[in-house]
Amino acid sequence: MAMNDKITQMLFNVLDELNQLRPREEHLKKDLGTPLAGGSGRLDSAGLINLIVLTEQKTAQELGSPILLTDDRTMSQINEVFRTLGSLADYIHLLLNEKRHG
């Protein structure tokens, strides 16, 4: 499976967990276009915290490489990184690539 697909699948698993905390009508769709944080985002602050922590955990567990989503670099562009599921996937891809190439 290509890295992009692995990241998407991992994020879908994160959504499965997040959705357990939400009413059925507010479940986040497994779609890269799903808005997360920011203007049209669906997550409140507690939801965003859960998303960050679960994504870090699952990246380490499922992709075998820990990443950090609470550093200054990420926090300074939080609305862009967490705008949609797709933007988050792109950012994780970037972090993993940076790790791989030192």
Binding site: Q20, L21, R24, A46, I49, Q57, T70
Partner: protein, 560 residues
């Protein structure tokens, strides 16, 4: 099960939003509707009983704190300052007084025990030493908390350590704490929500009462009809044999806590009973089972027959079978019977049984502990019934004695339990806590009696409740509750006779009973509709003037 939502006030010194999420959106019964009190203010919240969240008398409250935030002496200990344990425990007592302060504002309150993050292992050697060990002190605090709160009937301490263990290495997550003031991972909150729901189920009378088990490859290894009892895998120096023995021990321990055991198995009855009686490693004996159906018929049909014999509804039962096809069949035909997914490997049987969350009881009465013996004496009654020629003769032979008592502290626990879990012969199906029931019965215009029923075969214990409320020279029978264990022996008529006798003595003109229908209490409606002497029926209301007494059945000895 009912579709009602139960309001749940959340009081905490940390962010309980994730707990609230699981509690509210998990599909399992009962459905909870969380109401968050002010975040981070547990003490003011417990002091202010006039606050809006306490005013509507919520169904339950979860009051979950960290030890250092409500016990300042423990906070000092965390900084390794020297504080006598005595001072710490005094603060625990003061905190318990605060909890007692809100016990009247909710029906039930759950207080998770205190824990320390498992990563806090520095100075581990000193951890269990008296006065200086943090874990030692925390254990004392939890014991004190449990002992103090045991005196308050509607507050229950829950074991947080179990949730932490189940959540594993990631139970505490510093990241969640620093980002959101959430000390635990979601796994902990998921476990907590499930335990709170299970406890509430028990309070509401929905605890399961009966485990129906298969035999072959379930309580022993192998098919007895094929290999003979001598060659079954059970006990001995064999890993699976040991697991089957442990599984039987676990079942027996459930029986000792008042859960009934029964067998439904596709087998030759003689071969199966011989195995139970003869195998030297059998832990369970025939006397441990309240009934069995060992034959080649459909298991779902056998379960229905067995439940009818035991006078229990399908919602009381759990069915355990190693065979997925049999489980699927029972699940499909009896959706109200709980059929847990069962592991393929018998080494996991004991743990799977002991982790089921469907047997929660708020208290343990004498009746619970003797339940199996009571059902066995029921078998003797049935045998007697077969040997006599009429119902009247059978009732006469039973020599039934009904002992009537007013509600008082010694019978309150069992009476509340009966009120909350009786479904069939229950006129109004009110669910109340001990404190609520006592407060209700203490009003001057209300009377509540409990009935203990015994006969020549044994004591069925406190099995009936009847209550009256008098207004405008009319007496309403509010509660008319009889355990299914003693139905059909004219105890029902005895209760009416007694209620009408007391109403007469109180000078009322009319007695009436208002039937409140539920999905399960039609037997009560049928009884009032058909009882002789007749009541006048107006819809769901049954009325009787009290010029003439309601006769006490001949065969009953009534002791008041």
């Amino acid at each position: 099960m009912d579709k009602q939502s139960y309001t749940c006030v959340l009081v905490s010194d940390f962010n309980l939003q994730n707990f609230a999420g699981y509690a509210a959106h998990d599909a399992e019964f009962p459905h909870l509707e969380p109401i968050a009190a002010q975040l981070g203010q547990p003490v003011p919240t417990l002091l202010d009983t006039a606050a809006p969240h306490w005013q509507k008398k919520a169904d339950l409250a979860v009051i979950w704190t960290q030890p250092h935030s409500v016990v300042s002496a423990f906070n000092a200990l965390l900084k390794y300052e020297q504080v006598p344990v005595r001072d710490v425990l005094q603060e625990v007592d003061a905190y318990c007084a605060l909890l007692a302060n809100v016990s009247g504002c909710v029906r039930y309150a759950f207080v998770p025990s205190w824990v320390l993050p498992s990563y806090r292992s520095v100075f581990g050697v000193l951890d269990m030493k008296t006065e200086i060990g943090l874990t030692n002190t925390l254990m004392r605090m939890n014991l004190r908390l449990a002992e103090n709160l045991e005196k308050i009937s509607n507050i229950h301490v829950l074991n947080t350590h179990k949730w932490i263990e189940r959540a594993g290495i990631n139970a505490f997550n510093p990241k969640l704490w620093y980002l959101g003031k959430i000390p635990f991972s979601n796994e902990v909150f998921k476990e907590a929500a499930q335990d709170v729901k299970a406890a509430l189920c028990g309070m509401l009378g929905y605890a399961r009462k009966l485990i129906i088990i298969d035999l072959d490859d379930t309580i022993w290894g192998g098919v007895v009809g094929d290999v003979g009892w001598e060659n079954l895998v059970l006990g001995g120096h064999h890993h699976r044999g040991e697991a089957y023995v442990d599984f039987q021990h676990a079942l027996k321990s459930m029986k000792n806590r008042g859960i009934l055991l029964a067998v439904v198995s596709k087998n030759e009855e003689q071969a199966a009973l011989e195995a139970i009686n003869q195998h030297p490693e059998m832990v369970l004996t025939l006397e441990d089972f309240t009934g069995w159906r060992i034959n080649w018929q459909d298991k779902a049909e056998n379960i229905i027959e067995l439940m009818t014999e035991l006078n229990l509804g399908p919602r009381s039962a759990v069915f355990i079978d190693d065979n997925p096809a049999e489980r699927a069949r029972v699940k499909e035909s009896l959706p109200e019977v709980l059929v847990p997914d069962w592991p393929e490997d018998p080494l996991f049987y004991p743990a799977t049984l002991l982790s089921l969350r469907c047997f929660e009881l708020p208290s343990l009465s004498r009746e619970d502990l003797n339940r199996t013996a009571m059902y066995l004496s029921e078998n003797q009654r049935r045998d007697l019934k077969k040997s006599v020629s009429s119902l009247e003769e059978w009732l006469r032979h039973l020599a039934i004695r009904v002992e009537v008592e007013k509600l008082h502290p010694a019978n309150l626990q069992r009476a509340t339990q009966l009120l909350n879990k009786t479904n069939q012969m229950n006129l109004s199906t009110r669910r109340m806590s001990e404190a609520e029931l006592m407060a209700w019965a203490e009003q001057k215009h209300r009377w509540l009696w409990t009935l203990r029923v015994s006969d020549r075969f044994g004591d069925a214990g406190l099995t009936g409740i009847v209550s009256l409320e008098i207004r405008d020279r009319k007496a309403q029978i509010v509660d008319f509750i009889l355990s299914c264990r003693v139905l059909g022996r004219k105890i029902e008529e005895t209760m009416l006779s007694m209620a009408i006798y007391h109403a007469q003595a109180l000078g009322v003109e009319e007695v009436y009973a208002r039937y409140v229908p539920t999905s399960k209490n039609k037997p009560c409606f049928d009884f009032f509709r058909s009882v002789a002497p007749r009541f006048h029926q107006q819809g769901e209301c049954f009325i009787r003037d009290i010029e003439h007494p309601f006769p006490l059945p001949d065969h009953i000895e009534l002791v008041q």
